[in-house]
């Protein structure tokens, strides 16, 4: 029970997020209207994705330091769940786009796809797609673990400058684009309404914990399957 408190916390926070997210008061803004509630789901997916990728990166570094097979299992499974969060981020984004940018602001698919944040997410998903392809091309387990850890570390380190650079190169529809009042293209605390923060921060924590939970389940399953190799 002592070890599982965070799973219960995750469940409580997510129940709170769904109830609070759908019922609490939100500011009435033009174009956004009630869709603003998607913030509690869409943005949290990206937070979860980045965090899971960071954990995966850390385990890859750990693998190269000690060559323990458990760390490779952890790295690959955190990356897998991170990619699922990325895809869910896209799906929730599509819902949001379809009722705001494309209908109200008259954007076409072509302009939406050139969004810097979509490019950043696409690069991240492509990198991890390549990571899984690379993993699939080995038959030797040790070799697979070692080479894919190298690629994971390299790609992850390269991902950060790109997420930092691209929003400053391309104009954006997302809040905080260059030229709008808010200034910081990454994330601006002042953009968010007081009431929404009450739900948003717990939502981020709740979704991230859920991601970690799923990943740990997958890892335990994989370790059970590979018990013979792990001796």
């Amino acid at each position: 029970m002592k070890k599982n408190w965070w799973k219960i916390l995750s469940l409580i926070l997510l129940i709170y997020t769904i109830i609070g997210g759908l019922l609490f008061k939100v500011p009435r803004l033009p174009i956004l209207n009630e869709t603003i509630r998607n913030l509690y789901f869409h943005v949290c997916m990206w937070f979860g994705m980045m965090l899971l990728y960071i954990v995966s990166f850390v385990y890859s570094v750990k693998y190269l330091l000690g060559f323990q097979y458990q760390n490779d299992i952890k790295a690959s499974n955190f990356a897998k769940v991170g990619s699922w969060f990325g895809i869910l981020g896209y799906l929730t984004g599509i819902i949001w786009v379809s009722v705001t940018w494309t209908t109200q602001q008259g954007q076409t698919l072509a302009t939406v796809l050139k969004e810097p944040k979509l490019i950043g997410a696409a690069i991240a998903l492509l990198i991890y797609g390549a990571y899984f392809v690379l993993r699939g091309s080995f038959t030797d387990i040790d070799k697979r673990a070692r080479i894919s850890a190298v690629y994971n570390i390299f790609a992850f380190v390269m991902l950060f400058p790109s997420i930092w650079i691209i929003p400053r190169l391309v104009g954006s529809l997302h809040p905080g684009a260059p030229g709008s009042d808010s200034g910081n293209p990454a994330l601006n605390r002042n953009d968010l309404d007081e009431n929404m923060r009450m739900v948003f921060y717990p939502a981020v924590i709740g979704w991230t914990l859920l991601g970690v939970w799923i990943a740990t389940l997958k890892i335990r399953l994989q370790i059970l399957k590979d018990k013979k190799i792990l001796n």
């Binding site: 190269l64 490019i119 690069i123 492509l126 990198i127 797609g129 390549a130 392809v133 690379l134 091309s137 080995f138 070799k143 070692r146 080479i147 850890a149 190298v150 690629y151 570390i153 390299f154 790609a155 380190v157 390269m158 400058p161 790109s162 650079i165 691209i166 190169l169 391309v170």
Partner: protein, 219 residues
Amino acid sequence: MNKKVFALLKKDVLLEFRQQHTFYGVLLYIAATIFVMYLSLSESPNAEIWNSLFWVIQLFVCVNAVAKSFIQENKGRMLYFFSIASPGEFITAKIIYNVFLMLFMSIVSLGLFYLFLGKPVINEIQFIGIVLLGGIGISLVFTLMSAIAAKAQQNAALIAILGFPVILPQLLLLMKMSKAAFAEVFKEGAFMQLAGLTCLMDALVFIMALILFPYLWKD
């Protein structure tokens, strides 16, 4: 250290002179692709399309030029290098060699682009500078990718899959910078900022290669 790097470099250059088919193969690849583009376009493309075509071709040329650098080394020879040089020296020699190869190929493809697809570039010296800077960056990334892909069996296609998402931000930077040479007006100092950023990314890739390559080459 420097002596060994130089010796390894010399070995690569000598190999290139003795097995010239790969070198001419890449040259022919450049010529053939640009010629196909020349035939498929009814008139010279405008500056923007010219720019994007140029950088995409650079990317594929690099994949082809750099791809063989680790694949040509068979297992026995790698073991020999392992016993005479450190991984840092080995990857440094490979990177220097590939950078020079790519710089040469970049100049060749630039010349062919001028010849076949017209010349929208206004500030020539600046554009050549950008092309060389881009050549360095692209070849750095793909050298490391080819080292990774050489460890897996199906390598040529894998290099492209592994490298493209990583190189994309740098490519966008280069395309943006090239617009300065097409007479697009930049903010004061913005161009140097972009150039500095590209150099920083190159340094980052080089450092990562030095750190990570030792894990790649021992089997």
